[in-house]
Symmetry: C2
């Protein structure tokens, strides 16, 4: 019998455990995989270096992540960002001076149209309470529109419309069709605005962690020692008046309280007894995960840097639409990281690995020229196929869901509390949101258990 | 070892079993509940009569359902439909002569606006292939709009817009915000058009089955005898090269092939080994079930009939918006059946049973006058709370899903075939669709197993 049993040893679950232990409570963290870290995962190269195949960047205002790194003795380094961003559109290339200039090259009318739409998007965020997006003065209107249908109405030029579609793919790994406009606004505001989400300098991609982000989870798990168990997919949670039992196969753990630190779509797959209220269950039916395959291509040197390119690509043509320089710290090799996202990712998920590799290199040749053919390693991770994630980067709210079900997102059900980045009001969907969600769920329980004493 | 193991003893699963047995194959049907019938369920009154708390109506073109009734010796009788339909809008009542006149009373401009929109909706259905809705010439456009966002653009008057919203609630038990416009068109065409779906005479509510629809499943299960097992929620399916194993707790059944005859949101909760392809899993994250509480109120007599009312109400004011006369066959009592749907259903799901009862009677008094207070019995069923359904009437495709994931809906994964009304191209979401889906899945397997011989 522990004070708190936690399902999921990702950043949310481990950080909750860490905080509960600091408060003097006993914990047990149950993880389905044979590793900790959830959506943070390091691929080990032959020489011991790692490539990050999951969430990897942190940036300004992600205070918990920087604090955690400091606490755990992890160092950060800036994402490479010298040179120009390449914009690729139907075979045409153009260069942007800096990624602060987040707008792609557009003709003047498209640019004006986009400028107006961006301003409107900013204004709409003003009325949004991150804790209660459903209280937005136009919540009913905005939640009835998909991002796509809103853009069709409010953005005039195709190139400007395509910009929002590319943002949807790059930031949410889903199509603009799939997501509520209210969710789009919530998410932008949650991460400090569209530029904060898209930028490298002064944005969410500013810094990387030496040795990779999975180390945070590994180090937290080391501190927890035997209180983390691996290889135990939880399939059932039973609650009684004073305790909770968590089952994986024939193993069972009992606690006073529980935290389910999983994406909503996975939390909904556990069998609960008593069964969860209908509205809670229906919430988890309505926050699907994004669709992304993360790919890294290793070269002997970062040849693009010689061309005064920073390795970043924003392409309106797929299957690869977003590329960044992901070269290792203090290493002479060059690494490009890229994503096949949304419908392109879904299609690519059905190709063979060989096909994906060939099409990836084709895209890189389009962007960077023939030199891109001389790669030494190709590594990919399809997060849709991961049984214990089922999609990245995170879950998105489909139209109608925030207004109808939003208030159930964090509401505990008897002894069960909910964590995971999708439950965070700040930096929702990011590692920072995961950490904060674990903190919030832990604090809910600390308050309740202290009251009992 | 059986030829085919079937998960789910609803109409789809049982009908598949029935058909497979007729073809000489051995089957086993595994059911989570302590009863068969799935979304068909009879509540037994003290005197032995039953009230149907699940799907209950059948109508023209639902040929499989009429054939099944005949085969099983079940008789149908017409839904009571003499007198006028009551339309209730913000305290104002009006009467319609017949439900064939499906349009509510509107001012002339609203009526024109609605007429134009209805015509447009009909025209849009023309280009839709029920087997492949994603091939619609405007699929990308239509799938990017919610029904709500489409109506905002294409319907001018509020009363006419509200008509579509009421259709969404009444037919899909979800808000117009929640569903893709392409799905709305698919579903309408699948059931023969909007009038076919809404009407009693010559529509989907034309007939009832003496003794209730659950009897179909009960009689099919009787024929299957020991080949149906109850109280076994399936939590895991394992596939090997030549067989499939289906687990419920420590029990396991092995077959050459399997049929999962569950709503998509439940099919996605089973743990599969090998894990399902990412795109299949993500499909099941994106077809949430509707939200409905079905309520029946019993009176000593059908007093509304004296007022020349047929008991049908279309109300623009909730929580009860749709009412029908559901009196028993050859019985002097009067029964009204009604639904709390979509957001009203979600809200009501959090009320106490007492509150729901009081608000239901308030609604009935608004519609039918003080006499509605003198009821003798109130019975309700919240399908969101049902652990082994998790929402009715059926699942709806959220925006973007048909175009991105539609082709995975019925695609077998190795030995697993998919049934359930949500997989049917004809009468999707209805009992007829369930029966047809079972037939289709059975035929897929019969073809494959005959090839092997």
């Amino acid at each position: 019998m522990k004070d708190v049993i936690i399902v999921g040893a990702g950043l949310a679950g481990l950080n909750a455990a860490h905080r509960l232990k600091k408060a003097g409570l006993s914990v047990m963290v149950i993880e389905a995989r044979d590793r900790v870290g959830g959506r943070n995962f390091a691929h080990h190269l032959a020489d011991g270096n790692i490539l990050e195949m999951g969430g990897q960047w942190i940036g300004p205002t992600q205070t918990r992540m920087y604090e955690l790194c400091e606490e755990l003795g992890l160092e950060t380094f800036p994402t490479y960002n010298e040179g120009k961003v390449l914009v690729y559109n139907d075979g045409k290339k153009s260069l942007m001076g800096s990624d602060k200039d987040a707008l792609p090259k557009l003709n003047v009318f498209a640019l004006l149209s986009l400028g107006r739409a961006m301003k409107k998007v900013e204004q709409l965020q003003e009325g949004l309470d991150l804790e209660k997006p459903w209280n937005h003065p136009n919540a009913e209107y905005l939640d009835g529109e998909s991002l796509e249908s809103w853009v069709r109405k409010h953005v005039r030029f195709k190139a400007a419309k395509d910009y929002f579609r590319l943002v949807s793919e790059a930031v949410f790994s889903t199509e603009a069709k799939d997501m509520s406009m209210l969710h789009f606004l919530f998410y932008l505001k949650s991460g400090g605005g569209i530029e904060s989400l898209l930028n490298t300098d002064e944005g969410a991609q500013e810094d990387r962690i030496k040795g990779g982000t999975q180390q945070i989870s590994i180090k937290l798990a080391e501190r927890l020692g035997k209180d983390v168990v691996l290889n135990c997919p939880v399939h059932r949670i039973e609650q009684s008046e004073n305790s909770i039992k968590i089952y994986s196969g024939i193993q069972v753990w009992e606690g006073k309280k529980g935290i389910v630190a999983l994406p909503p779509t996975l939390a909904g797959r556990i069998s609960y007894n008593p069964p969860l209220p209908g509205v809670r269950d229906q919430l988890t039916q309505r926050i699907p995960a994004g669709s992304v395959i993360k790919i890294q291509v290793v070269y002997e040197s970062p040849f693009w840097r010689k061309l005064d390119l920073n390795g970043q690509v924003a392409s309106f043509t797929g299957p690869v639409k977003v590329v960044l320089d992901n070269s290792l710290h203090n290493d002479s090799r060059g690494v490009l990281v890229m994503f096949m996202e949304a419908n392109k990712g879904r299609q690519a998920s059905e190709w063979t690995a060989k096909e994906r590799e060939a099409k990836t290199i084709d895209s890189l040749v389009n962007f960077f020229g023939e030199e891109a053919k001389g790669y030494v390693e190709y590594i990919e991770k399809d997060w849709m196929n991961e049984e214990f994630t089922r999609g990245c980067y995170g879950g998105h709210f489909t139209p109608g869901v925030w207004t109808a079900f939003g208030k159930h997102l964090r509401k505990p059900i008897d002894h069960i509390h909910w964590a995971g980045s999708e439950t965070s009001s700040v930096w929702n969907g990011y590692m920072e949101g995961a950490v904060r969600s674990g903190e919030r769920a832990a604090d809910e329980i600390i308050r309740l258990l202290k009251e009992l004493i």
